[in-house]
């Protein structure tokens, strides 16, 4: 019998990687294996022949290729330690001698108790699982893999439909157009040299292209920043008044 690896939610087990043992179908853990041994060998749990059971345990984990599963090895080591303790000469009166197996027996009993609860839960769970509630949504049901029922004609018609629906993509040609801010600045300076006031709408030709509008705007902002002119917009969306920056004239 070989240990089969079950993939878990945490990641699929690698079939070649024997050191990565997660769950074995036969045993839920080292205590489970030990209990099975005790049952198979028909020994008294209160008087476990430790030397024999320890040997059998090691044989089993080797058969199951569990010899590098730490939890099984730990119990194997514990069994060997108890075996060694049993061999030590007993000092003092018999009553004060503490059976080195006592702790192991306590753990086995506790584990066995829990196994009985597992049997109950398994039964109750199966009973519940075999009854459906209304719109009972099981947590993880694989969708049923149904074969695709489709004729060649239907498939071609579907492809044709998709091709017809798909339009030619709209392609915009983006042409980089350099702004001419210095040119606009020179233009504004020239206008303001002729008259003290003007308006944005007057500076722009009626058919001005976007790049010209933006160049003009940047030119005005630049000149305002440098203090060469003042920009005044009395109301939102009103025309922008442009005045030559002349504090004396303003005061007048």
């Amino acid at each position: 019998m070989s240990a089969t690896l079950e993939p878990t939610a945490d990641g699929a087990a690698l079939p070649e990687e024997r050191s990565f043992v997660i769950d074995l179908p036969a045993y839920a853990g080292p205590l489970d294996l030990l209990l099975a041994l005790i049952r198979d060998e028909k020994v008294d749990i209160y008087d476990i022949p430790i030397a024999h059971i320890a040997k059998q345990f090691l044989v089993r984990i080797r058969q199951l290729q569990l010899n590098d599963a730490a939890e099984y090895l730990e119990l194997a080591a514990r069994l060997l330690r108890i075996k060694a303790q049993m061999l030590l000469p007993r000092h003092g009166p018999e009553e004060t001698w503490e059976d080195p197996r006592a702790e192991l027996v306590r753990r086995l009993l506790e584990y066995q108790q829990m196994r009985e609860v597992v049997d109950i839960l398994e039964r109750r769970g199966d009973e519940r699982r075999s009854r459906f509630g209304r719109a009972f949504l099981p947590e993880s049901v694989e969708p049923v893999a149904a074969p695709l029922a489709l004729s060649l004609g239907e498939l071609l018609a579907a492809v044709d439909r998709i091709l017809r629906v798909t339009k030619e993509p709209t392609v915009h040609t983006v042409v980089a157009r350099a702004l001419d801010v210095p040119g606009a600045i020179a233009y504004v300076r020239r206008i303001l040299g002729e008259r003290k006031r003007t308006r944005l709408m007057e500076l722009l030709a009626a058919d001005a292209e976007p790049w010209q509008v933006i160049s003009m705007l940047l030119a005005l902002l630049e000149l305002a920043k440098q203090g060469e002119l003042r920009l005044v917009q009395p109301r939102p969306f009103a025309s922008v008044d442009i005045a030559d920056h002349d504090p004396a004239g303003q005061a007048a």
């Binding site: 079950e6 878990t8 939610a9 945490d10 769950d23 839920a28 853990g29 080292p30 205590l31 749990i45 209160y46 939890e71 119990l75 753990r107 086995l108 009993l109 506790e110 584990y111 066995q112 108790q113 829990m114 196994r115 009985e116 609860v117 597992v118 109950i120 839960l121 398994e122 109750r124 769970g125 199966d126 009973e127 519940r128 699982r129 075999s130 009854r131 459906f132 509630g133 209304r134 719109a135 009972f136 949504l137 099981p138 947590e139 993880s140 049901v141 049923v144």
Partner: protein, 180 residues
């Protein structure tokens, strides 16, 4: 059937989960608790005696209408519903320990099972079968786990006390009582 039983039946039919008894009672404020209990018993009997394909099951502190097991296979074959997956032996062991020892920390569970249970606790938590109910005092203040109402529901338990008492278990392995 009395009108109260019909009302309860309609509510139970509409719900995909067990309806707690007090919520059923709230449906008919004029009826007493005893009357609601009697109506539920009547409804259950009605399904049992007259031979219906469904039955009324009491679990997790509530009631739910479920199909009878003899029709499970036919329903599954027709792909109308599917049984949820069985829990693994390792998950069941962990659940059993938590059910009896709750609130319990991870270390204690691992000591009883003899294996580490980190990923199992995570998956039980994700399935909503256990929840964190606090932290233990002491080193590292480990998280304490307990079972949820969904646990009772998935194992058709009315309450936790329906499981046998701990001292009723593992009798076969117990030594004969010492004569005094």
């Amino acid at each position: 059937m009395i009108p109260l039983a019909k009302l309860l039946e309609a509510a139970l039919f509409a719900s995909p989960r067990p309806i707690p008894t007090d919520e059923l009672a709230a449906l008919a404020p004029e009826a007493s608790k005893a009357e609601v209990a009697a109506a539920l018993d009547g409804l259950r009997e009605h399904y049992d005696v007259d031979g219906h394909g469904v039955e009324l099951v009491e679990m997790a502190g509530g009631w739910q209408i479920l199909t009878r097991p003899e029709y499970t296979e036919a329903i599954e074959r027709a792909q109308l519903a599917a049984r949820p997956q069985r829990l693994s032996a390792a998950s069941l062991e962990t659940l059993a320990i938590i059910a009896y020892r709750q609130p319990i920390g991870r270390g204690e569970i691992e000591e009883i099972r003899g294996v580490s249970v980190g990923s199992i606790l995570k998956s039980l938590h994700e399935r909503g079968l256990i929840e964190v109910v606090g932290r233990a005092e002491g080193l590292g203040r480990p998280l304490l786990y307990a079972t949820t109402p969904l646990f009772l529901e998935q194992f058709a338990l009315r309450h936790l006390e329906e499981l046998p008492r701990a001292d009723e278990l593992a009798i076969a392995l117990r030594p004969a009582p010492q004569p005094l």
